[in-house]
């Protein structure tokens, strides 16, 4: 069985990131966009954990900086999702839509 190397993680992370970016750029629904942002964040988490593991394999020891940082990012993502959904609900109440194209009040 092939060892799962750092490269695999990075490829997976890049794929997730790309999916996320495509989701953010192409979908009109704000909920989907928020979900895509989650994908991007998780891609980053994957990278962090992967590089942490790689660093351990070279230097040994039990340094878990990457994993800890990933936990922080997850927390941050939760907070961001809460705020994002709050804004979304407020926005929906005003506009009765979740379509991002219609968020253009700050245009000059």
């Amino acid at each position: 069985m092939l060892d799962i190397s750092t490269l695999h993680y990075l490829v997976l992370g890049a794929a997730l990131f790309l999916l996320g970016v495509i989701g953010v750029l192409t979908r009109r629904n704000v909920v989907i966009v928020l979900m895509s942002i989650e994908l991007i964040l998780n891609a980053v988490n994957l990278n962090l954990v992967a590089f942490s593991r790689y660093w351990q394999s070279i230097h040994g020891g039990a340094a878990l900086h990457g994993q800890v940082f990933a936990i922080f990012v997850i927390t941050d993502a939760a907070a961001e999702a809460a705020i994002g959904l709050g804004i979304l609900i407020a926005f929906f109440r005003n506009k009765e839509t979740v379509n991002m194209d219609e968020v253009n009040l700050l245009k000059w």
């Binding site: 970016v21 953010v24 192409t26 194209d101 968020v103 253009n104 700050l106 245009k107 000059w108």
Partner: protein, 712 residues
Amino acid sequence: MLFLTHIWLIPLLPATGAAIMFFFGRRLQKATVNAVCVGAVALAFIMACGAVLQYTSWTDTNHHQPYEKVLYTWLGTDTGHLNYVTHDGAQANFQADAGFLLDPLSSIWLLFVTGVGMLIHIYSTGYMAHEGGYYRFFGYLNLFMFSMLTLILANNYVLMFVGWEGVGLCSYLLIGFYFQRKSASDAANKAFIVNRIGDAGFILGMFFIAWLCGSLRYIDVNAFAHSGNYSADTLKYITAATLLLFVGACGKSAQLPLYIWLPDAMEGPTPVSALIHAATMVTAGVYMVARSNALFVLAPTSMKTVAIVGALTAIFAASIGLVQNDIKRVLAYSTVSQLGYMFLALGVGAFAAGVFHVFTHAFFKALLFLGAGSVIHAMSGEQDMRKMGALSHKIPITYRTMLIATLAIAGFPPFAGFFSKDEILWQTWTSEGGAYRILWGIGYITALMTAFYMFRLIYLTFWSPSRITSHEVEHHLHESPKSMTMPLVVLAVCSIFAGFLGWPHSLGGSDRFAHFLDPVFSRGEAHVLVEEGKVGQLAAGEKEEEHTSPTEYLLMLLSVGAAGLGWFIAGRSYAGAETGYVEPIEAVSPPLYKTLLNKYYVDEGYDYVFTGRRKLGNIRLGAMGLGEASSWFDSHVIDGAVNAAGWITRLTATISSWWDKWIIDGIGVNGPAILARMLSYPARLLEWGLVQWYALVMTAGLVGFVFYYVYH
């Protein structure tokens, strides 16, 4: 010394009352208005009594000096910014203090102004009870009290002038109190305008004094007058200064030829006539001349002018008063006539006698006016004596008090008027020079006329058969409320007893009144004068002591005889006056009666000369057109200058506005803004409002950075 050191509070109390009335009066109940305004004046009266009492004990230990209290300098400073050169080349500062001076002269005025003022305030609470503008009336009255007290208590001419103008203003406001009535507002204007003429004289006189003495404080002016080091030229200037001051006195105290405003001033409410146009304000001229006595005795010409004008006014006004039918107008002419007496006394140097007459006159004339007010009140507003009669039983208190006042003014002993009037006539008789005997004769005839028209008033109002035509009025006849009769009774008591203060030596008295005034007048009356180059001649006011007493008794008997004769003639003519009675003067000489009834056509004459308003058919009289000329000058020259100044201001304003609009705003303020706006056009193109496009740009940027770092 509490009252004396806080003497400045006396004018301030009514000022506070007036301020309260003007700011909050509209919202106050009548009872509150009464409490504030009457209370302020009553408090002022108490303080005045205290101050005068303390002054009398203070002055005994201070060489009979006047008491002076300076609060601060309100006009000019001593830093030399307003200095000028006096007639002898010295430098002087033009400056005036907010200072108060209490001496016997101001003490007397202070006492009767606050005392009579308080009684009239009380009377007004009854008289004005049903009138609109109650608080306004009392506000004006209090403001008047403030001005009058400032006038009296000032320690220099400038502050006196402030009070002088203040009483003029209040007189104007109160004459025009019923401003909906055209005649009232006209009368107010007339009073104000005629007073302006006198005020102009007063101002010029003040400038003369400032130029002569280098100061306007009474103490400095008196010191200058008593110093004796002046040339014949200086005496000419003093004559000019005193004559100008007398012009001011003529305006304020209604002397010929400026008396015309006073009879018309009767348009005001009756308490106002009593307070301002009988007892207090119109005596301001007498006060001012008496205050300047040290200067007047240096100017014999001025003294003679004062005496002659006074005597002529006395007989002139009295003769008009003989035939007037309006009860208040009779009293108005009587006031003018009595003021003439006072000036006659001042003019012959009998300052104390003049002041004494002011003092007694304040009581009985205020009483007469208040009584007349009470009669008018009872008659439901009727002022025409031809429609009165037989009121003595209907309004007994008014009747009795008015009778006392009439006896006093007619000069029956022992009422107040006897002592003061007799003193004036006696002093006139004993003045040096035969011409003064003529003045005495005029005064004597005036006394006869006074008795006649006063008893005419009493007969027509109280004693003759009733000529009341309206049953409604007759039914409504009633005695006035207590608030009105109480002041009448107090004033009646004063009218009886005030004269005793000046009980003459010849009747075994000590003339305490004149003695009290000695510190003010004695130096003036005994002053040695330089007249027409002759040094050492006695002043016109100097009395010859060797005159025998029998003459005095004879004159006394004569004046009592005149009073009795006046009563007798009035009784003969009016005791049985039915409706449509004939005036005795009309019976003797109709043209004379018509002339007197029309007041010698003086108003018409003034109209002709000054305003040119009269028309005879289609021909406009007023050929001299002084009024027209003044009006033209005012509207073309004065207003032209004003308009030119306005036009120049407008022109510069237009230029300034253009500069501001196009240069300051255009380039300085809007310029940077326009620049920023132009620069913002390309930046704005980036903000087209699609969130995902922004995200795409970010991503593209990210990709670009990555490529840059990877392939660099």
